[in-house]
Amino acid sequence: MKGYIYFIDFRKMDTKNYPVGDNFDEMFNEKGECRWHYSEFLDHLKKTSSKKISHLQHAANKNQVAMGMTFNVYHDNQGIEKILHLDIVPRIIPNQEWQHLEAGLKQRIHALNLFIHDIYNEQKALKDKIVPEDLILGSKDYLKPCIGLNPPKGIWCHITGTDLVRNNDGNYYILEDNLRCPSGVSYMLESREIIKRAYPDLFNQLGVMPVSDYPVKLLKMLQFISNKEKPVVGVLTPGIYNSAYFEHSYLALQMGVELVSGVDLITKGKKVYMQTTKGLEQIDVLYRRIDDTFLDPLSFNPHSLLGVPGIFEAYKAGNIALANAPGTGVADDKAVYAYVPKLIKYYLGEEPILQNVPTYLCREEQDRKYVLENIEQLVVKETNAAGGYGMLIGPKASKAEHVKFRELIKRNPTNYIAQPTLSLSTVPTLTDEGLQGRHVDLRPYILYGENIEVIPGALTRVALKKGSLVVNSSQGGGSKDTWVLYN
């Protein structure tokens, strides 16, 4: 990666001041020319003083605190509330590019849903040896109580937040399928509200597609998966100490439904009821933000105090719909990920529209050999870790870390995969030292109800540390508003 020249004045923003590195930059091409879909935005900024720009950034962060867009770090009864830094330079995606992403995501979710249904029912893909049987049946995320289940309307993964990155070849690659309880959608919605205040004229001028109807679409989807005409819907939260509690309460508020926790619910005759001031009231659909195994101590983790005893029986009896369905986690394992392109071909008979990052499975002898020999150039990931933990970035790690991970892999090969180091694309980002390119990823949200729908927007996470490739909020990541254009 080439060095960046520090500067803060947008008016000087041209080739000389913003050298594009080896990576793909979302705003400038390799010759340093502004890409067409950013040109109006750049024109706008050229008319804005640097003082105004830092003012806008300051106001954006202040708004976040006032709106309570916070992560909770909790101890005693003092809430320590941290904001996820929101950068004021948006990530802009032209419509044609978006259509490609949209088609690819729909295809992928469609296939993954068929796959989940298959492995809990006929297991055709395992019998046909598309995916090794032991990888699925031996996974701790393969939930035996779900065998033979047919969830309402055949949908398992109702809400997905897929992570993508753009490599220096300019292509998008799928990084992770988050099929469990992907978070961050509230940041997509609230960030848009804040960024709208910063550029009131631009939205209309550029033609930015709205995202604000997400809660309406989410509610519609949740109602769709119930057989009742007017189902009672709720959001199930682990409670106030969960770091995503803000999002749970935000979504309940926006949808106008109850936010419930395990203690509010009781099961009786394979039905689930809320305990209200007027007695018991049946609930029909739960958007649950509790992990699979904590959902029901009678069926899964017996030590869970978060869930509702008996809810799984009620679910099996068809008396309550759950989104996402229990058991989806097995399909977003980092090792299963490697097989998704094959699964798309197998179930849909189509070529994958969006590519996977080439993945070496340490469980396979040949792949393992390659990984151990080339660990300096690879990113090694634990198959079941999230949040950017349990990860080695070969080119940035020390020799000692290489040695440590080689040992870890040898000891427990099934637990690791490796991928070539991608050079994540950059977007200009306001930093203390001026405006600099920072690496980003992309998390669009997909709803699977009557149709599969990709919300025209996304959470763009940005690694705020110079040169860093880790965008996770728990490790110094921030976010950007993502503008999908009508054109």
């Binding site: 009864n77 936010l259 509010d264 009781i266 394979k270 001031t277």
Partner: protein, 326 residues
Amino acid sequence: MLSRVADSIYWLGRYLERAENYARFIDVNYNLMLDLPPDMKAQWEPLVYATGDHDLYVQKHKTFERKEVVYFLAFDTDNPNSIISSINFARENARVIRENLTKETWEKLNGLYHYVQRSADKKEWSKDDPRAFFDGIKNQILLLYGLADSTVARTEGWYFRQLGLFLERADKTSRIVDVKYHILLPSPNWVGTPLDFLHWTALLKSVTAFNTYRRLYGNIEPSKVVEFLLLNKYFPRSVFYCLREAESCLHKISGNGGQGYRNSAEKAIGELRSNLEFTDVSEIIETGLHEYIDSLQLKINQVSNKIHSNFFQIKDNFSHQNSFQE
């Protein structure tokens, strides 16, 4: 409405009202002490007695110095009833039910919380004149009330909050009256002197009732002040008024048209309200003001317990699992 949510809304109402009343208590005592004759020592102990936190106080402090008492009643997180504790609890309750609050309400309450935290960091209690802080508390809470009044729909949640507010206020007004019992005059000969008069005036001012009292009753007479603060039918801080409002909240919640009672909470509050409705102030004086107030506070607590068992009690879905199986 979820029982857990109703519970939190009720306590949100109580804690805010508690904080506001504590600000009033301290503010008025401070003013009162400024007016004392030069040879008389300031009295802060009566305030601690009236709040009912005397036992805890003496465990922590040996003397009743102003700064100690102000710290204890306003900023001590070990005191579960202090202003800072009440605001913390109010905010915790609000956080749990945030989806039920309007955006403005949450943001103002959040602001109030940060105001108290900042004031604690600045050691506000050690200042010579901390009254600006107490004004700030009162004003911000009244702002929250105004905000709720003009934005919150009159559905179940509203009535649970009002219920908490009025029960708390009934309790606190009775405690303000009780302060007078604890404030000592140098000797019985002082009854009816300007100093005695000063005490009663301060009491009325603490509940913003001085002018109203003057208009309705004229002269400051102890029994009239007691009647006004406990039994008046129209003054929104009198104990009777608060209980009647709380009762009508319970009726709204159960759908009772105003006849009899539909649950044990309504029965308990109805009995208490009618007791006050048909009591004459001379009977109270005969019973003994302090004794009467003590039993009043006990009955208010019983009403609160009944509210809890009728509306908030959640069945433990773990231990009851077996009894519910078919």
